[in-house]
């Protein structure tokens, strides 16, 4: 048996690719007693398998078939067996180690060696899985009998007689429904079933009156009169920022510092550096100006402020905004200016918002209407 295997191994690989497919397959089947054929195939392999299938079936030297075997060398076989057994036992060690670590290793912050808790779990789990896997591969490579087999495919199509019978059955069944004769039934069925195709058409035109009217995406937490709070919850007042200073601020509403869409950035620059157009002249005070920090491209926080160039820079895709000129886009993929928050100062000297941002913050979305709240600021500009 083993001799014949070795002979087979010496034979050139990729026999299936040699010319004359059908013949080669047949010779495979007849030459080796270990070659199996598909028992379900009712036909002889040589007749039914055309040459392309034979190429696939014959495992044309794809390297999936190993070559070594130690069954004739008891000493080496013994060693290989021990190596495989060691790997399997390593798996056992891994499982025990995992359970012990899970149950007993210190894991709370600050405990001695607590930082090894997760790595140890990982190492032991790796050992437990890798031991079984590597052992199995080594076992297959060294100890199992190694042979090439050819398994013939059976023909994919059914017997012509069966096919004819099925076709006959279907035809008869169709006639028995009466559809060929009863035209009213047939036409009404076509009309009713065909109309189902119209069902998804309304969805192409949006959800109509179910569309949300709240404009949740267009609004943020800022209300007229809310103070500007810093990250520790303190209101920011006039004079807190020096020229060249900047600060992240949040609206003074319940949970305001957790409203991701409301984060804003107050910047102070020399008033003569700030370009203020007539329609926004009441939106900033004495060189203090507030913008949304959410990039109009994909929503990253734009807080990289350069106090000399007044660039606001988005770290994600390098969009650059000019903080001195309505945060207009100087560079990068952002399509729109950063929304601006109009501010004023209350009686106690604290900055307050005069409403929401002038535009919906952040990236575009389908129902976005630009400038929807802008006129409100200028209507109350008398304050």
């Amino acid at each position: 048996m083993s001799d014949s295997i070795r002979d087979r191994l010496k034979a050139p690989a990729g026999h299936g690719e040699q010319a004359g497919g059908g013949d080669t397959s047949r010779s495979d089947v007849t030459s080796g007693d270990f070659v199996q054929t598909d028992s379900r195939s009712a036909h002889g392999p040589g007749q039914t398998i055309p040459s392309p299938s034979a190429t696939q079936a014959g495992d044309g030297g794809t390297g999936l078939v190993g070559g070594g075997h130690l069954s004739d060398d008891p000493k080496r076989a013994k060693r290989a067996e021990q190596a495989v057994a060691a790997l399997f036992l390593l798996s056992l060690v891994g499982v025990i180690g995992f359970c012990v670590t899970f149950a007993a290793w210190p894991y709370e912050f600050g405990e001695r060696y607590f930082e090894l808790y997760t790595p140890l779990l990982g190492i032991f789990m790796t050992l437990s899985l890798l031991g079984i896997g590597a052992g199995a591969v080594l076992w297959a490579k060294t100890l199992m009998v190694d042979e090439e087999t050819v398994q013939m495919r059976h023909q994919l199509s059914s017997d012509p007689k069966d096919r004819e019978a099925t076709a006959e059955l279907l035809k008869k069944g169709f006639e028995e429904t009466g559809l060929p004769r009863r035209t009213l039934l047939r036409n009404s069925l076509l009309l009713g079933a065909g109309s189902l195709a119209i069902l998804p058409v309304p969805f192409l035109f949006g959800f109509g009156r179910f569309q949300h009217k709240e404009r949740v995406l267009a609004k943020t937490g800022w209300k007229a009169g809310s103070r500007l709070l810093d990250e520790l919850g303190r209101p920011v007042k006039m004079g807190d920022l020096e020229i060249g200073g900047a600060k992240t601020v949040f609206p003074d509403v319940p949970g305001g510092r957790r409203l991701a869409d409301s984060a804003a950035f107050i910047i102070r620059m020399r008033p003569d550096e700030l370009k203020v157009k007539e329609d926004r002249k009441n939106w900033s005070i004495d060189g203090h100006i507030v913008y949304s920090v959410i990039c109009t491209h994909l929503g990253c926080p734009v807080k990289l402020y350069e106090q000399q160039t007044h660039h606001l820079f988005c770290p994600c895709h390098q969009s650059t905004f000019d903080a001195a000129d309505e945060a207009k886009v100087l560079f990068g993929p952002a399509a729109r200016n950063l929304p601006q928050l109009a501010i004023s100062v209350d009686a106690d000297g604290y900055f307050v918002a005069r409403g929401d941002f002038n535009e919906p913050v952040g990236p575009s979305y389908w129902e976005r209407k630009p400038h929807y709240s802008e006129p409100k600021y200028n209507a109350e500009a008398g304050s």
Binding site: V137, L232, L241, E242, K247, Y305, F331
Partner: protein, 255 residues
């Protein structure tokens, strides 16, 4: 035996004498030096002026008025001097987009003299008295993440800005440089007044920066520049795929 003892006793007497001299100096000499503080200060200012005229006036002007080469230094305060000179950025070597950190040209005394001189020219922020490294670490972390990390990265390793400018790594900066940077807002860094971040809050940030750049461990072993998920993902991908290829080759190889 006797000679050994006498040798030791000689040292003991010498030490005692030194301690007494020191004690006497502290007791009587110290008040005198306090009285002479103003005089020392004006000496420092004069020394600083000489250093300034030699090393800085070419660009910043003979009267700190600034010029084509450099900005005015009136009103920038001692903190700006300490930051710029102690980090080696000044004197500037060449006109580039951003002054790089270099070898420091002046010693600590000279820097303090320069700072005293500039401070005398219109005031400005100065370092607070006392230690800078005893801030509240947890508060510093909170403040660092909202105020600093957007440019300097969560781990303080710095990052790119627009047009070949960059936020530098915070690792080489000592406490004085970190603190004065916040006060003076060098180059394109925003300035943080004491109303915006109090002295204690700036100390907390200073403490936190020193902690993340020098004391914090890398639990994963290699920091990979601490740039975050991009290099980590790359390494995981390359190592993972490489390992899978090796395993595949081993499974497929003939024994």
């Amino acid at each position: 035996m006797t000679s050994t003892r006498s040798r030791f006793s000689g040292y003991a007497v010498l030490l005692l004498a030194l301690a007494m001299v020191g004690g006497l100096y502290t007791a009587f000499g110290a008040p005198k030096s306090k009285a002479a503080d103003g005089a020392n200060q004006s000496i420092a200012i004069e020394e600083g002026r000489q250093l300034y005229l030699q090393g800085c006036s070419t660009c910043h002007g003979l009267n700190n008025e600034g010029g084509a080469g450099g900005p005015t230094l009136i009103g920038v305060g001692a903190s700006a001097v300490i930051f710029q000179v102690e980090s080696g950025r000044m004197p500037l070597a060449a006109g580039v987009a951003q002054a790089p950190r270099k070898k420091v040209k002046y010693d600590r005394t000279q820097i303090d003299q320069l700072a005293a001189y500039i401070e005398s020219r219109g005031g400005g922020p100065t370092l607070p008295k006392g230690r800078l490294d005893d801030g509240d670490l947890a508060l510093g972390g909170d403040l660092f993440r909202t105020n600093c990390s957007s440019c300097h990265n969560f781990a303080g390793v710095g990052g790119a800005l627009t047009r070949s400018k960059y936020a530098p790594s915070l690792k080489p900066a000592d406490e004085r440089v970190i603190y004065t940077a916040m006060q003076s807002g060098p180059e394109n860094m925003p300035r943080f007044s004491d109303n915006q971040l109090t002295v204690d809050e700036k100390k907390a940030i200073t403490r936190y920066v020193r902690y993340i750049t020098h004391e914090a461990k890398d639990p994963g072993g290699a920091p990979l520049g601490r740039y975050g998920p991009v290099p980590e993902g790359l390494v995981a991908f390359l190592v993972g795929i490489g390992l899978l290829i090796v395993i595949t080759l081993w499974i497929g190889a003939r024994a």
